[in-house]
C-alpha cells in the first residue's frame, strides 16, 4: 500500500538545491579569501627576500661610490660603515634584539604563569577574579606606545631614579639606572606581553580536567605538589605557546622601545664575556629601530629600498629563529614529560 504523503515533498527538494547553491558560494568565498591572504603573505615575503637578497648579493653597491673597503653589501650591512645612517652595522642590532627578547621572556614567563595559576587554581572564581581577567584581556588592547610612556615614567624615572639615589648616589647627577636602558626596555616589553602569556597559560590550565587534580590529591599529593607535578607539566605546551606568541610580538615592537632604551647607535654591546655578562643599564641597538632608521635616513634613494629590504629580511629571520627555538623547546618538553621515568 502506498501512502502518497510519504513521497511528496517538493519543498525538501528546493531546499536541497538552495543548500547546494549556498554551499558553492561559501566554498568560493572562503577559498578566495584564503587565496588573498596567501598571496599577500607571499608577496610580502617575496618582496623582502628578493629585494633584500639581491641587494646582499650585489657587489659593493654603495661602497664603490663612497670608496669603502667592504667587499660585499653583506659585510657592509653586518659591520656598517660611514655610508649607513647607523654606523656600526646591523650586528649589534641583532645582538640587542635577541638579548632584549630573551630577557623579556625570562621576566614575563614566570610572572604570567604565576598570575594564571592564581586566577585558575587559587582565586575562588568570583567577581574579583572575573574583573581581573577582563582587565588583563583589555591590557592587550592598549597601543604599545602607551606602554613605552609608562615604562619611561614609572620604570625609568620612578624606579630607576630611586635605585640611583640609593646605590649610585656618587655618580649623580649622571644617571645610571635613571635613564633608558636594557632592563627597563625588557620590563616594558614584559608588561606588554604579559596578557598574552596569562591568557594562553590560563587556557591551558582550564583545559586540564579536574579529574586529574582529584586523582593526584587522592594519592596524597598536596595542592602545590599537584600543581607542579601534574597541572603545570600538562599545561606546558600551552604555556610555551603563550611565550612564543609573546616573543613574536615583543621582537617586532619598536615604538615603545624608542622611549625606554633603544638608540640609533650604541658604542658597546649590552652583553660581554666577563661578569656580570649583562649590562642591564646600557642603551642598546635594535633591528626594528635599525630598519626604521635606515628607511628614514639612508643616503641616496638608489640603494635605499635594497638595504631596507635586506635589514627587514634579517629582522624577520631573527624573529623566525627565536620562534623556531621556542617550538623545538616545546616539542622537546612534551617528549621528556611524556617519556620521563624510563
Amino acid at each position: 500500500m502506498t501512502n502518497p504523503d510519504m513521497f511528496d515533498y517538493p519543498d525538501l527538494n528546493s531546499a536541497r538545491i538552495r543548500d547546494e547553491k549556498i554551499n558553492t558560494l561559501m566554498t568560493a568565498a572562503t577559498g578566495a579569501a584564503t587565496l588573498l591572504a596567501v598571496v599577500s603573505v607571499v608577496a610580502f615575503l617575496g618582496f623582502i627576500v628578493l629585494l633584500g637578497g639581491a641587494w646582499l648579493a650585489e657587489e659593493q653597491a654603495l661602497s664603490a661610490t663612497v670608496g669603502q673597503q667592504h667587499s660585499s653589501n653583506f659585510e657592509l650591512l653586518l659591520f656598517g660603515g660611514r655610508e649607513l645612517a647607523s654606523s656600526g652595522g646591523v650586528l649589534p642590532a641583532i645582538v640587542g634584539t635577541v638579548v632584549l627578547t630573551l630577557l623579556m621572556a625570562v621576566i614575563v614567563a614566570p610572572l604570567g604563569i604565576v598570575v594564571a595559576l592564581y586566577l585558575t587554581e587559587y582565586s575562588g572564581g568570583g567577581w574579583p577574579t572575573q574583573l581581573l581577567r577582563i582587565g588583563v584581556q583589555n591590557l592587550a588592547a592598549i597601543p604599545s606606545i602607551i606602554y613605552g610612556v609608562f615604562g619611561l615614567a614609572f620604570f625609568v624615572y620612578v624606579i630607576g631614579g630611586r635605585i640611583d639615589e640609593l646605590f649610585y648616589a656618587s655618580n649623580l647627577p649622571t644617571p645610571t639606572f635613571g635613564t633608558p636602558g636594557l632592563l627597563w626596555a625588557s620590563l616594558t616589553l614584559a608588561l606588554l606581553t604579559l596578557p598574552t602569556v596569562i591568557v594562553a597559560t590560563e587556557e591551558g590550565l582550564l583545559r586540564i580536567p579536574s579529574s586529574l587534580r582529584e586523582g593526584s590529591r587522592a594519592l596524597g599529593a598536596t595542592r602545590v605538589e599537584t600543581i607542579f607535578r601534574v597541572v603545570l607539566p600538562a599545561a606546558a605546551p600551552s604555556i610555551l605557546t603563550g611565550i612564543i606568541l609573546a616573543v613574536a610580538r615583543a621582537a617586532g615592537e619598536v615604538a615603545p622601545l624608542m622611549l625606554v632604551g633603544v638608540v640609533r647607535y650604541a658604542p658597546t654591546l649590552p652583553v660581554s664575556i666577563e661578569a656580570p655578562f649583562l649590562q642591564l643599564e646600557q642603551k642598546f641597538m635594535h633591528l626594528g629601530f635599525y630598519v626604521y632608521d635606515l628607511t628614514m635616513h639612508a643616503p641616496g634613494s638608489e640603494g635605499r629600498v635594497g638595504i631596507v629590504a635586506a635589514a627587514s629580511l634579517l629582522l624577520v629571520s631573527v624573529i623566525v629563529s627565536l620562534n623556531i627555538v621556542a617550538l623545538l623547546l616545546r616539542v622537546r618538553l612534551r617528549r621528556t614529560y611524556v617519556q620521563s621515568g624510563v
Binding site: S211, A218, R229
Partner: protein
C-alpha cells in the same frame, strides 16, 4: 618513619598471614551540597576490615558522595558540609586536625572514570610512592612492577613502561589507575564503579583482582551491576536518596532482603 620504611612495614604486615586491614565505622554521617541538602542523611555503617563491601543504589542516591567522605575528597568541593563521624582503626577521619594527605595514603581511591595522568605508565604508577618520598630507582622499579602485576596489567605493558598512559585502551587505563592506587599500599581501597567502562573479560580480571586483594585491603566498591556485587562482595549496602535502606551480608541482601525497596531494586523493578 620514612615512606620506604612505611612501605616495607606495610608489605611485611601483608605478608603476615594474620594481618587484616582495619575496618571503617560510620556514625551519624550527614552531608549537604549547596544545591542538594540531603545528599547523605544519617548514615550508619560498620564496614568490616579485610572484606569487600558493595554499595549499590540508583543513580544520584549518594554512593560516590559516601565514598568520597572516606578519603575526604569532598573537602575540595566548595560549600560541601558534613557532620557525624567516620573512623578507620583508631584514626578519626573527619576530624579537622586529621592530615588528609596521610589519610589518603591509607585510603586509596579509584574513580568512576579512569583518570591516568598524561605521563608515562611508569610515572603514573610511581606517582604516589614518589609523593611519599620514595626516590631510589630500584625501589621505585620494584613498587611499579608489583603494583602492575597485582592489577593484571604487567604482561601487557612491561616492554613499554615509557609509553604515554593516555594512549592505553580504556580497560588498560582502568587497571592502570588501580595499580596507581595500590602502589601506595593503602589499607582501604575505594572503587567507584571500577568496571563501568570495561568489556566482560577485563571486568572479570578486575573482579579477580578484588578477590586477590581482599583481606590485606578493606575494599569498598560502588557498582551498578547486581551480578558483580553478588559475585565480589561479602556485605552489601543499599542506598536510596541519601539513606541506607538496608545493609547486610551480600547473600542475605540478594536472596532474602528484608526491605521491599531493596528487593525491587535488585530485581530491576525499581524506576
Amino acid at each position: 618513619m620514612d615512606h620506604r620504611e612505611a612501605l616495607i612495614a606495610a608489605s611485611n604486615n601483608r605478608a603476615n598471614l594474620n594481618y587484616v586491614a582495619p575496618g571503617i565505622e560510620v556514625q551519624g554521617l550527614s552531608l549537604t551540597y549547596p544545591d542538594e541538602p540531603n545528599a547523605l542523611i544519617d548514615i550508619n555503617l560498620s564496614i568490616p576490615g579485610g572484606e569487600v563491601t558493595a554499595v549499590i543504589g540508583p543513580s544520584g542516591c549518594g554512593k560516590s558522595t559516601l565514598l568520597r567522605c572516606f578519603n575526604r575528597m569532598n573537602d575540595m568541593l566548595e560549600g560541601c558540609q558534613y557532620s557525624g563521624s567516620i573512623t578507620l582503626g583508631d584514626l578519626n577521619i573527619l576530624d579537622p586536625m586529621t592530615d588528609v594527605t596521610l589519610l589518603r595514603r591509607r585510603v586509596g581511591m579509584v574513580f568512576q572514570q579512569p583518570n591516568p595522568f598524561p605521563m608515562s605508565i611508569y610515572d603514573n604508577v610511581a606517582y604516589g610512592p614518589r609523593i611519599g618520598g620514595l626516590r631510589r630507582r630500584r625501589d621505585l622499579d620494584e613498587v611499579v612492577e608489583n603494583a602492575l602485576r597485582l592489577a593484571a596489567l604487567w604482561d601487557e605493558v612491561k616492554g613499554q613502561l615509557g609509553k604515554n598512559a593516555t594512549v592505553l585502551s580504556l580497560g588498560q587505563q582502568q587497571r592502570l589507575v588501580i595499580a596507581r592506587a595500590i602502589a601506595v599500599q593503602p589499607e582501604v581501597l575505594l572503587m567507584d564503579e571500577p568496571a563501568s567502562s570495561l568489556d566482560p573479560i577485563s571486568t572479570l580480571r578486575i573482579e579477580e583482582l578484588i578477590y586477590e586483594l581482599k583481606q590485606s585491603y578493606t575494599i569498598v566498591i560502588v557498582t551498578h551491576n547486581m551480578q558483580q556485587a553478588a559475585r565480589v562482595s561479602d556485605r552489601t549496602a543499599f542506598l536510596n536518596q541519601g539513606q541506607v535502606v538496608e545493609y547486610d551480608a551480600t547473600d542475605k541482601i540478594f536472596t532474602n532482603p528484608s526491605q521491599r525497596a531493596t528487593e525491587d531494586y535488585i530485581t530491576g523493578r525499581y524506576g
